[in-house]
Amino acid sequence: MRRVLALLLLALLHATTGATAAAGIRIVDDRGVAVKLAQPPQRIVSLLPSLTETVCALDACDRLVGVDRWSNWPPPVRALPRLGGLDDVQVEALLRLRPDLVLAAVSHRTLARLEALGVRVVALEAERHADVQRVFTTVAALLGEPARGEQAWARVQQQIAQAAARVPAALHGATVYFEVASTPHAAGADSFIGQTLAALGLRNIVPPAMGPFPQLNPEFVVRARPELLVAVAREARRLAQRPGWAALPALREGRVCAVAEGPAWELLVRPGPRLGEAALALADCLAALPAPPPTTARAPLPPTASPR
């Protein structure tokens, strides 16, 4: 409902003010808080890596004056002052930067405090592709450049389509298990990672009903016998040692995408403008895997979940 309201408002703004930056920006963030700006912000602080990347993807990198501890892309951002993590923002350092806008995650712990100190905060969080598109639109509107938001999303779509083309035909419809943590936590079909995998023509063993990042019983994975596994390199090396996993054909035949810790993994797990790059990286990894044995007809692929 909030999303619809935000989109309606944006559409109204767009219609009345035209494509160029205009006075009087009003958006509703993901907390349902309406934020008004007289003019586009010139000093932006971002407290979430995906939001940092979004701002830079919309050509407003020079407006960033401070970022959180984990923001590290694009490279120029690393020179900016670091202001802490999810629950330990250095409020004084932040205030000293005199930002006119702070972008943060909805679950950030110090939002109320910052707002009480007079800082303008817009909280945005993306769990699915549709959310990512919405974040682009919202941030673009905030920057007074709505067209850039659409362009950024179009780029992402293009890259995803390219990636889908690179996936070997033999893997179309293959089942995949994407592990985000060794508990094990998986990326379900309902997460942005799951939607990317679906766009690449793969089927997630974790159905949408289980939520975006469920903690699984390892037996579930063994039962499902996924044809492809994706995990961080450190865990990928030890998957075969897990009780019962050594029998998985995917492990025996080496159809595991071991993603190196650090930048390569961060690329895959950030729901931001590099979603398309992530898809390409995944596709390249999958293309490099040994071909699966010819299977009897796989079940027809469900329609992809990415919005156009």
Binding site: P218, R223, G244, A247
Partner: protein, 362 residues
């Protein structure tokens, strides 16, 4: 529970005195046996349930289907069986350690994590993950490779023992109980702070720490089971040998010392035993809450007895508790899983609350 018609002191000879109070003694022994039998029965039932609780939840039809399909060997044999038995053994080790801790410190609220074992294990886990995350950047790849080979299990084991060793060092031995407890608190805070700092370097480490602190039996395999069984087979007899010393400690430290016991040495030995049990359990299953605290309580409430029985029964009760929590954790939201530490906290915490409500924490 007063003995019926006991003869007066004047008339009673030693023979009569042995016969007259037989009933209360038998009653006490009967309660102990009944508790052990009940716990043993519960363990059997829960083991069966554990073998049936899979990613389809607790379902007999699914179990029959699996047996018919011939998947039994992999699913039940390799995944569910070691996990179920592992939960029993981990719980037993924690229950035993809890009973020892409560005996050594003469405090019904003592738990096995008191002396820095939990903080040490946590720190070790974080250090290993942060090391492999920082490989090539801040630390040498060789060090990272070594850390990875040690693995999380080995690291947690070494860390738990290291935490206790640090506590003993800080307290300069086990000469004074209070100093030992204070040292344990200091070590816990210190190691916890260092772990926090390390998690700043690596978000993976943060997530790993959270998972470790919630506990899980998800990845217990047969090798882990063998280690746990060996540990328990060694620890239980050793603990039972010290039962009389623990009984003597209930009289107070001065009285125990006057009975010819070298308290400092015994305390050191008991702390070492407690540390070994805790380290083994925690390395395999993480920091499962409340099991070590609640198991001895349950036993004392249902069948109060001297430490000989209390230690063995606490081990059994701990195993049953953790297995029950594990079966619940696997079945309630199948095929998802709740962290088992959450379930033990709810069960154990709920029990303690109920105890407080009834006004009896002895």
């Amino acid at each position: 529970m007063s003995p019926p018609g006991a003869p007066t002191e004047a008339r009673a000879g030693p023979g009569a005195a042995a016969h007259a109070p037989a009933q209360p003694r038998d009653a006490r022994r009967a309660r102990c046996l009944a508790l052990l039998a009940a716990l043993g029965g519960a363990a059997l039932v829960l083991t069966a349930l554990g073998l049936a609780a899979g990613s389809a939840g607790l379902s007999w039809s699914a179990l029959q289907q699996d047996l018919a399909d011939g998947h039994a060997a992999a699913l039940i044999g390799q995944i569910r069986a070691p996990r179920t038995l592992g939960a029993l053994l981990v719980g037993a080790l924690l229950g035993l350690a809890g009973a020892i801790a409560q005996g050594v410190f003469r405090n019904p609220l003592a738990d096995p994590f008191l002396l820095g074992s939990a903080a040490g294990a946590s720190l070790a886990v974080v250090a290993v993950i942060a090391a492999s995350a920082l490989a090539g950047q801040a630390i040498a790849p060789a060090a990272a490779a070594w850390a990875e080979r040690l693995g999380l299990v080995g690291a947690a084991y070494v860390g738990a023992l290291g935490g206790v060793a640090l506590t003993l060092l800080l307290a300069r031995g086990a000469h004074q109980t209070l100093r030992l407890l204070l040292a344990g608190v200091v070590v816990g805070v210190l190691l916890g702070a260092i772990a926090e700092l390390l998690t700043l370097l690596s978000p993976d480490a943060l997530r790993a720490r959270q998972a470790f602190q919630l506990g899980s039996t998800a990845l217990l395999g047969w090798p882990a089971l063998a280690l746990l069984a060996l540990g328990l087979a060694l620890a239980l007899p050793l603990a039972l040998r010290s039962a009389r010393v623990l009984d003597a400690l209930t009289l107070g430290e001065d009285s125990a010392a006057s009975l010819g016991l070298n308290l400092a040495r015994w305390r050191l030995a008991l702390v070492a035993l407690l540390a070994l049990c805790t380290a083994l359990a925690v390395a395999q299953a993480g920091l499962v809450a409340f099991v070590g605290l609640v198991a001895p309580h349950l036993v004392r409430r249902l069948a109060p007895s001297a430490h000989g029985t209390l230690l063995a029964a606490s081990a059994l009760a701990g195993g049953v508790l953790l297995l029950a929590a594990d079966v619940l954790a696997r079945s309630i939201v199948a095929p998802q899983e709740l962290p088992v530490g959450v379930v033990t906290a709810v069960l154990g915490g709920g029990y303690l609350l109920w105890l407080l409500g009834r006004g009896g924490v002895r």
